[in-house]
């Protein structure tokens, strides 16, 4: 066992933390090295925010730093040449934002306090573009310091800023009197041992930040309901018909909030025999009032299943925001708060509502608690969570998970009552098949091709995790994932940390597997080339099976031959050679052969060629489906020809 562990350690990338001093503070869950004290005022009249913030920041890297770096995410919509908008165009969306759609953040003043010393550094603020050198991009600001900050030394940064709220971009902005604020305040980057990790805002990736304590006071018009990260501490009346909502959150790495006078507020308690109770607060759109139970049930299913599988949700509350129509804020995660997303007409047997709720609630584990770098390794939150969500979907809502499609501008849904959604193809298999070779997963996520990156980030990861589950068994994978969660919660893991932990749980060297699915972009495709079963005299039959590896990637598979009397011969093929031949001399004829009959290798891009039978029903199937297709075509022709 020790030897295996040693081999695993040698064969992985040598996992280690990105920051030398990332251990929790005494009495805290996290290092709390980036804490924010914020006052912000919403001005609905001109759709603006005005705020002051004090960041208590500690350098937890191994090296001193002579500069500070900040994210100003909303500047992605300051001009058309920002990296975010350039990448969006590259991905195929060439829509030019309307004149009232733009948003931005302006730093008015910036001062750094070290002990008794106060340095006014506003004039030193300048923009940098560490990822692409785009001089038009203003999403990262750098501030050279007068005096470096030593490792483990703390400073206070005081910032006064204003922001123009955009029309919805990247799930932030306003529509009518609904506001959602994500990435809305100047936010310090992450200083790692190898330097600042402060990426520009990219259209295909998300965020990365350190843990801390957030104390935020939001001034909004009286009558507006507020939901935010953390928990509500107080509501007091402000001047000019406003109310000040104070929220406090500990050991979180981001803070989002929403406000609208229209929300229906519902609360319910999640209770479980072994997991901590959690107060669930739902901010619901009035037109979705009938879907209250569905939101709570999905959130509770996440708290239960993720809690049992990976580790308990440690906060005492969670806020579910049902976003307004056209707010663009659907399906997004923030610490202790997330946005779900439903439609006015949402059939029970279409679990899109549950899926998005589980997915975003699930990010509390894979993003919120385990704080991976979403710019560089988006698969570590999105992919792992996609897999975890699919398991929860199946366990909690599988019996009513049917395929559906929407018509008439997406308003009218139709559920296909005889097409049950199954994990092996629900996990974006079709999307992955088409884009399998577009990028190696090890490529930094923000460098993925914008229009195909999602298939790699979400679906390839989910598919290889499903493959691992089938291959190693759920107890082993679950043990690995829960260990990974326990080891890396409130910290910033690297890919090697995940691989190492799963390898440890499996008790074997999984490097060859991760080399293929993570470091490479080759595809898996095993298939049957030949099946013959001919009389060999004396009542015997000679059966020949040829299995082939059509793809470049390698994985061990079973080759199962079934005979006419129901007996089976199972061969374990390591899948390395391009082909393998099996011959059997039996007293019955063979009926069929299957490569990977249990669909262990869910990354196989062509599963139809995985089997061959001597009693094909392709004729029956093709007649049936072509006749159905013909009726559809006749309907279409008549509909259009009604104009003739």
């Amino acid at each position: 066992m020790l030897l295996i562990a040693a081999v695993v350690f040698v064969c992985t990338d040598g996992a280690e933390s990105a920051q030398s001093f990332d251990q929790p503070l005494p009495g805290a869950r996290s290092p709390r090295n980036a804490s924010y004290d914020i006052d912000v005022r919403l001005e609905p009249a001109d759709r603006s925010l005005h705020g002051t913030e004090r960041i208590h920041w500690r350098n937890i890297s191994a090296n001193p730093t002579s500069e500070l770096q900040f994210h100003l995410y909303w500047n992605a919509w300051r001009n058309a040449e920002s990296t975010w908008l350039r990448e969006r165009r590259l991905g195929g969306n060439t829509t030019t934002p309307r004149t009232d759609a733009w948003g931005w953040t302006d730093i008015r003043t910036l001062r750094v306090r070290t002990g008794d010393r106060l340095d006014a550094l506003t004039a030193r603020v300048h923009f940098i573009a560490p990822d692409d050198g785009n001089t038009a991009d203003q999403t990262v600001a750098s501030v050279p310091l007068i005096r470096p900050v030593a490792p483990n030394e703390s400073i206070d940064i005081e910032i006064e800023w204003s922001a123009k709220i955009p029309r919805p971009f990247a799930r932030t902005g306003y529509v009518d009197d609904y506001y959602f604020f994500g990435q809305w305040f100047p936010k310090i980057g992450v200083l790692e041992d190898r330097g600042w990790n402060t990426h520009q805002f990219h259209s295909g990736t998300e965020f990365y930040s350190d843990y801390g304590v957030y104390d935020v006071r939001m001034t909004v018009p009286r009558g507006f309901i507020v939901g935010a990260s953390g928990r509500e501490v107080s509501v007091t009346d402000g001047a000019d018909g406003t109310a000040i909502h104070r929220y406090h959150g500990e050991d979180i790495h981001d803070f989002a909030w929403t406000t609208s006078p229209e929300f229906l507020v519902r609360t319910r308690m999640f209770e479980h025999p072994t997991l901590p109770h959690v107060r669930m607060r739902l901010l619901l759109q009035p037109e979705h009032a009938a879907q209250e139970d569905r939101h709570f049930d999905a959130a509770a299913a996440t708290l239960k299943n993720y809690g049992e599988w990976f580790g308990a949700y440690p906060y005492e509350n969670i806020t579910i925001v049902d976003p307004a129509f056209q707010s663009g804020s659907r399906g997004m995660e923030y610490p202790t708060l997330f946005t779900a997303g439903t439609r006015w007409i949402a059939p029970q047997r279409d679990i899109a509502l549950e899926e998005v709720t589980i997915h975003e609630a699930g990010h509390q584990w894979w993003y919120g608690l385990v704080g991976s770098n979403e710019f560089e390794h988006a698969w570590m939150d999105e992919g792992i969570n996609q897999f975890s969500e699919a398991r929860t979907d199946e366990v909690a809502f599988g019996p009513r998970n049917y395929l559906s499609r929407r018509y008439f501008g997406g308003f009218i849904p139709w559920v296909f009552k005889d097409i049950r959604v199954q994990r092996q193809w629900d996990e974006g298999l079709a999307g992955y098949r088409a884009q399998a070779e577009s990028d190696a997963e090890a490529t930094p996520s923000f460098r993925y091709w914008p229009s195909t990156g999602g298939n790699i980030t979400y679906f390839k990861t989910a598919l290889w995790l499903h493959t691992l589950e089938h291959w190693l068994g759920w107890p082993t994978l679950q043990r690995g994932m829960s260990t990974y969660f326990e080891r890396w919660k409130f910290r910033h893991p690297q890919p090697a940390d995940f691989f190492q932990t799963i390898g440890e749980a499996a008790g074997r060297d999984l490097t060859p597997f991760f080399d293929q699915v993570y470091r490479g972009s080759n595809t898996f495709d095993y298939g049957v080339q030949l099946l013959t079963s001919t009389p060999a005299g004396a009542g015997r039959f000679r059966t020949t099976v040829v299995a082939r590896r059509f793809g470049e990637a390698v994985f061990p598979v079973d080759v199962v031959t079934t005979f006419s009397d129901g007996t089976k011969k199972t061969e374990r093929w390591d899948g390395v050679e391009r082909r393998i031949i099996y011959r059997y001399d039996t007293n019955v004829r063979a009926r069929s052969v299957q490569v990977d009959p249990n669909h262990v290798l869910m990354l196989d891009v062509n599963y139809t060629n995985n089997s061959r039978t001597l009693q094909s029903r392709a004729g029956e199937a093709s007649v049936k489906w072509s006749l159905k297709w013909m009726a559809w075509l006749q309907d279409l022709l008549m509909t259009y020809a009604a104009l003739a």
Binding site: D177, S260, E262, A324, F325, S327, W344, L403, R405, Y407, F408, G409, F411, I412, W414, F416, K417, D418, I419, Q422, L429, A430, R433, A434, L531, S592, Q594, N606, Y607, T608, N610, S611, R612, T613, L614, S616, R617, A618, E620, A621, S622, K624, W625, S626, L627, K628, W629, M630, A631, W632, L633, Q634, D635, L636, L637, M638, T639, A641, L643, A644
Partner: protein, 331 residues
């Protein structure tokens, strides 16, 4: 109500017309369906995936097949929307949302529209005469009016192009977008969308009715000038708006009833064998019902025109005058 009832009488007296248009609808779809079946059979080969596909749904295979490159992009049309009532929703949504059509389907549609333009001369002549005219008479009328209807079709095509290229754009990409841009409530946006559909459908219906009556007048009055027929049709509709709209609404209600029944009884994916054939029979009954509605539109419009303006003997072809039998001379 009288023209509508009389329309039914004329259709009932012309079962061969129903059979003929059904045959054309079948012929327009069958070649592509055969090609699709061959492609499916080839893709499935001797795979066990065919077992699930035959007995129920193998959606993994389905997606794999649909994503294969194919002649004129035919495979991409193999979507879940082909199953049951979704096909009807998909067709209507495709038309009203102006969704692009793949080249293979566009070719089939072009053939089908041409076939209708050809048949409509014979169909209207048959309904106008309200008596058997035989295959020869039917196709003679079809031939006579084909080129006239093609000319009329060119004008109709221009109008439809204007409606789909400009009016649709204005309604859905401008008006609807501007009206709903600040809406935070989906239900309200849905009502706006309904309004757009209503306006656009009304415009399509109005255009269709005008060109239908132009064809009716061309056949009944044996008009050669299609511009004249068009003007005459507009004049007729202008002078009899209530009756024209009434007949049209009755036919629209009839269509809705047929579609509603189909929504309830439309079979799902089903299996192979008897259940498959039952599904085929049901879907083809629905196709026939839709075609009867289309014929009823033409028949009731013909009847309405004849009852309102023309007289019963006022039809396209001259009445055949047979020579008197020799016995008359001898008398």
């Amino acid at each position: 109500m009288l023209p509508w009832r009389d329309g039914w009488r004329r259709i009932a007296a012309a079962p061969a017309v129903i059979a003929g248009v059904y045959l054309v609808t079948l012929l327009a779809a069958a070649p592509l369906a055969t090609a699709m079946g061959s492609a499916m059979s080839e893709h499935l080969g001797a795979s066990l995936a065919a077992d699930d596909a035959a007995d129920s749904v193998n959606y993994d295979w389905w997606q794999e097949f649909a994503s294969q490159g194919s002649f004129l992009n035919l495979n991409s049309t193999f979507t879940p929307s082909i199953v049951g009532f979704a096909a009807t929703l998909d067709s209507a949504s495709s038309l009203l949302d102006r969704r692009p059509i793949v080249p293979a389907i566009a070719l089939a549609l072009a053939f089908y529209v041409l076939a209708w333009l050809f048949l409509q001369g014979g169909i209207l002549d048959r309904f106008a005469r309200a008596r058997r005219i035989g295959a020869h008479g039917f196709f003679a009328a079809s031939g006579v009016f084909l080129f006239r209807f093609l000319r009329l079709g060119l004008v109709a095509g221009l109008v439809y192009w204007f409606l789909f290229a400009y009016v649709h754009e204005w309604l859905f990409a401008k008006w609807y977008v501007n009206a709903t841009r600040d809406l935070a409530v989906e239900r309200t946006a849905f009502y706006w969308r309904l309004l757009m559909y209503g306006i656009f459908t009304a415009l399509l219906a109005m255009t269709t009715v005008i060109f239908d009556y132009a064809k009716v007048r061309a056949v009944v009055e044996d008009r050669r000038s299609m511009v004249g027929a068009l003007i005459a049709a507009i004049r007729f509709i202008w002078r009899h708006p209530a009756r024209v709209v009434g007949v049209y609404l009755l036919n629209a209600i009839l269509l809705l009833v047929v579609v509603a029944i189909w929504a309830v009884v439309a079979p799902g994916a089903g299996g192979s064998g008897a259940s498959m054939w039952l599904g085929v029979v049901m879907s083809q009954c629905y196709i026939v019902a839709r075609l009867i509605v289309k014929l009823q539109v033409l028949a009731s419009e013909t009847t309405l025109f004849q009852q309102s303006l023309a007289h019963w003997g006022y039809t396209a072809g001259p009445v055949a005058i047979r020579p008197a039998p020799p016995v008359v001379d001898s008398a």
